[in-house]
């Protein structure tokens, strides 16, 4: 399906501007819908660029979004760089594949992005992001060569910034009133979430929105952080957000309700919804060419699968809703229904915050129809494991 760039930018503006919407808009039926493009791509090869390029055209084109702009891409490099599902490289299961990263960087550069910054809060380390990539066997130089002025930053701590950037959650927030993040999430004009199409043990699915759980620095939201100020280096995982057993340093915005449940199935979806409301995603890209079923990180119950899909959209909630449908789940599902057996739906919460709609009847899906591209994750897992 074709669409004009005017429509594309309109959708962008709605998605990015949702966080300043007045309270009256905060209902599912008024949440904005963004266009979503679904592409079939069977392998990680040079065709990835062609498929993504066609998808971005279906969304209205990248140029008006990124020309002359600083674009930040949050990668989805969860876990440690040396941990693999079976013998498979991370790009085949847990992380976006470097071919997709490179293709996206190339297309953004071709569309005129002034500066492209690859971001990840590398687990329990303050080392440069390129070093984290090398440890996984990635070649960051390939990304540098894919466009002009490509930069990297590990956002799990203060990094190259002078201070943390504060993002207040519109309407007060579901879990925290605001979040202090690495400056990179402020110092960009366009924010892209590049995620993997996966399930998630805690939140049911991990897509473009859940990817943003990782924008929180562990120097503030990690284990053993100081009481008053952020730590200097990241320590441990984001247990503070998961369990709520303690509060972040006093320098950071406080939790909305100290008596809120301490269960991660309650807390993590709310933190994610807060984050994507406070730090809007302009472009969501989800790699589902090869991925895994049965969890989000390598474990003995997980299985590699091959959906052969790429998904992109201008609204993260709508994009994730399309992804869920492609995975064989109902995006309108909530706690107690797959894949949300143990958690609230991040999509529903983000929708309530006005970020976007998960109602696919309101979403314009371009490219391959969902019904033709659907890959049932649970069925694949049952037949594989």
């Amino acid at each position: 399906m074709n669409s004009s760039r005017r429509q594309f930018l309109g959708a962008m503006t709605m998605a990015a501007g949702a966080y300043i919407a007045p309270p009256a808009l905060l209902s599912a039926q008024h949440a904005p819908a963004g266009r979503v493009a679904v592409g079939l791509c069977s392998e990680y090869n040079r065709h990835v660029v062609d498929v993504l390029s066609a998808m971005f055209d279906q969304l209205g084109g990248l140029e008006k979004l990124v020309r002359g702009k600083t674009v930040a891409i949050k990668l989805n490099m969860t876990g440690t760089p040396t941990m693999r599902l079976r013998y498979l490289q991370q790009g085949m299961t847990t992380w976006p594949h470097p071919q997709v990263v490179g293709a996206l960087v190339h297309l953004l550069g071709r569309a005129g992005a002034l500066r492209i910054r690859l971001l990840e809060s590398a687990l329990v380390t303050s080392e440069p992001l390129q070093q984290f990539m090398f440890a996984a066997g990635w070649m960051p130089g390939d990304f540098e060569r894919a466009a002009n002025r490509v930069e990297f930053e590990n956002t799990n701590y203060l990094g190259s910034g002078k201070d943390y950037a504060r993002f207040m959650v519109p309407h007060g927030g579901l879990l925290f009133t605001g979040y202090d993040l690495n400056h990179s999430y402020r110092d960009c004009d366009v924010f892209v979430s590049l995620a993997k199409l996966k399930e998630h043990t805690t939140t049911g699915v991990t897509l473009s929105m859940k990817n943003c759980f990782g924008i929180t620095p562990c120097t503030i939201y990690g284990q053993d952080v100081p009481e008053d100020e952020p730590g200097l280096v990241p320590t441990g995982g984001r247990f503070l957000l998961h369990s709520g057993k303690r509060q972040p340093p006093k320098s950071a915005p406080p939790e909305v309700n100290l008596n809120a449940p301490k269960e991660d199935g309650y807390r993590v979806p709310r933190a994610v919804a807060d984050l994507v409301a406070a730090r809007p995603i302009h472009l969501a890209v989800v790699d589902g060419i090869y991925t895994m079923a049965g969890g989000e990180t390598p474990n003995r119950h997980a299985a590699p699968i091959h959906p052969g899909l790429l998904v992109a959209g201008t609204n993260c909630v709508s994009t994730d809703a399309a992804c869920m449908a492609l995975m064989g789940f109902d995006p309108m599902a909530d706690r107690g229904t797959p894949p949300f057996e143990k958690s609230d739906s991040t999509l529903r919460l983000a929708e309530q915050l006005g970020v976007g709609t998960r109602d696919l009847s309101r979403v314009d899906v371009a490219g391959t129809p969902i019904a033709k591209a659907r890959f049932d994750f649970r069925r694949a897992w049952n037949t594989t494991v």
Binding site: T82, R84, Y87, P128, Q131, A135, G137
Partner: protein, 501 residues
């Protein structure tokens, strides 16, 4: 008579000295005393027949009233052992009249004595000893100028994952949340460099255990020493020795596995000629007050799977730094004028030197990197001198910072799904073959382990103690190198890689 580098040593606890030790530690242990009596009998030597063990280390003198009886008890054992082709080394733990003790040992058939430096000096004060000496040192105070052709070290760790966090009132955990792995590999590598034509024997106290140690634990101790080029003086726990003597099937089976672990390295003795690989050289005199930071940094670099070379600061650097990418100078002492010139040449040509003090050209203006707290960086033509603002005091931080400064893009080997495995890469004469030794330090089998090396390979074989024939490994090009998928790993294996030139 001389020390034999081909000896494969085993401690052989027997005789009245061992019986007295047992009586002191567990007076009611009559079963143990029977074991000691049994191991004193020449017939017990049948246990080592068909194994690579060819040198038994026995207590010869302890400076107690038991010495005379001990030596009398050992004479038939030694005589029978010599008939079987075994060599005997007598431990001399006394400074009283050592020359006579050694002379008696020679008469009884000992081929060498093992003693510490003080006893050795006393013994050789008047005239040369009748037997060659294996000098024993405490690891943390080893004198690299006095080591003998074979020398031993105490104070080593039992290789494996350290689970307890306290020993009495002392914390024994590591500085991170990761499992803490004990290994003597770094010390063996250090020894290889400091005294390359001599052999290190590691004496290791067995871990406290209520029963028989798992056979994997013994095999790991063998692999951790032999893979890196040293010998563990094989030592069995009391229950294991009793079981072997009594023909217990479990003990016999375990003993066969231990023997296979030894055979694995004896069958591949050519690997001893392979040289450690590295793009980083760690330079220190590894002596006195410098030995802690430099030694522990080697240990922790090894823990990060960093392959390194070692250079003795007392030697000339000269061409030793050619081909390297980085030099870590751990000592506070500055380089000599010749070393200074070598290092500056190295830096100007693009090398990296990491040092606790700046000794580059005067007037250098440092810069900082936000991700490298506590260091000043001096750019010097094509290279850099990186100076720790407060010197080096924390080897954990130093190993981490060094790895990042050298850059993982220069890693020579990486492990995926490593768990608590580690690897050591060495290259053969002619540089056509590389060996990557892999040791699993956990009791649990390592699964889906993959090894990546920075070289193009056209063939690879996996050697394992479980099989005399290798498995052919598929070479998969990855990230500018080659990766290999390994089958489940219990204790250790080695990949023999044919390099594509």
């Amino acid at each position: 008579m001389s020390l034999n580098a081909k000896w494969v040593p085993m401690r052989w606890p027997c005789g009245p000295i061992e019986a007295a030790r047992i009586s002191k530690s567990s007076p009611a242990a009559s079963e143990l005393r029977k074991t000691v009596e049994g191991w004193t009998q020449p017939s017990a030597l049948q246990l080592v027949r068909g194994t690579p063990i060819n040198c038994l280390v026995v207590d010869w003198a302890s400076g107690t009233a038991d010495d005379e009886a001990q030596q009398a008890a050992l004479r038939p054992l030694i005589a029978a052992g010599r008939e079987l082709g075994l060599s005997f080394v007598g431990k001399v733990g006394t400074s009283k009249n050592p020359a006579a003790i050694v002379t008696a040992g020679r008469a009884a058939g000992l081929q060498a004595v093992m003693m510490d430096r003080a006893a050795s000096m006393d013994a050789s004060a008047s005239h040369p000893l009748d037997l060659p000496v294996i000098l024993g040192f405490a690891r943390d105070s080893i004198d690299w100028d006095l080591t003998t052709d074979i020398f031993s070290a105490t104070g080593n760790v039992w290789p494996g994952v350290v689970l307890p966090t306290m020993k009495g009132d002392t914390g024994v955990g590591g500085p991170t949340g990761d499992p803490w792995v004990d290994s003597n590999g770094w010390f063996a590598l250090l020894s290889r460099r400091m005294v390359s034509d001599q052999s290190l024997w590691l004496e290791i106290d067995l871990p406290e255990s209520s029963g028989v140690l798992p056979v994997e634990s013994y095999c790991r101790a063998i692999a951790d020493s032999r893979a890196y080029g040293s010998h563990w003086v094989l030592s069995l726990d009391d229950a294991m020795r009793a079981g072997m003597l009594n023909g217990d099937p479990q003990a016999i089976s375990a003993w066969k596995s231990i023997s296979a672990a030894l055979c694995f390295f004896e069958d591949h003795s050519e690997w001893r000629a392979f040289e450690p690989m590295g793009v980083l050289a760690v330079v220190s005199d590894f002596r006195g007050q410098n030995s802690f930071v430099s030694g522990e940094t080697l240990n922790l670099l090894n823990r990060r799977h960093v392959q390194f070379e070692i250079l003795d600061r007392r030697g000339a650097l000269g061409g030793a730094v050619n081909g390297l990418k980085a030099v870590l100078w751990t000592d506070d002492d500055p380089p000599t004028s010749e070393q200074h010139k070598n290092l500056l040449d190295f830096v100007e040509q693009g090398g990296l030197v990491i040092a606790p003090q700046y000794w580059g050209p005067a007037g250098g203006v440092p810069r900082q990197e936000y991700w490298l707290s506590g260091y000043n960086i001096y750019d010097l033509r094509k290279g850099r001198i990186v100076v720790a603002a407060g010197g080096f005091s924390d080897p954990f931080q130093l190993a981490r910072d060094t790895h990042l400064l050298v850059g993982r893009e220069n890693d020579l080997a990486r492990l995926f799904n490593p768990g608590t495995t580690n690897c050591f890469a060495s290259i053969g004469p002619g540089r056509s073959k590389e060996i990557v030794q892999i040791v699993n330090y956990a009791d649990r089998t390592a699964s889906y382990l993959a090894v990546w090396v920075r070289l193009n390979a056209h063939g690879a074989k996996l050697w394992s103690p479980n099989s005399k024939t290798p498995i052919s490994l598929r070479c998969t090009p990855e990230s500018g190198g080659t990766s290999f998928e390994l089958p489940e790993l219990s204790v250790n294996c080695a990949i023999e890689i044919e390099r594509t030139v």
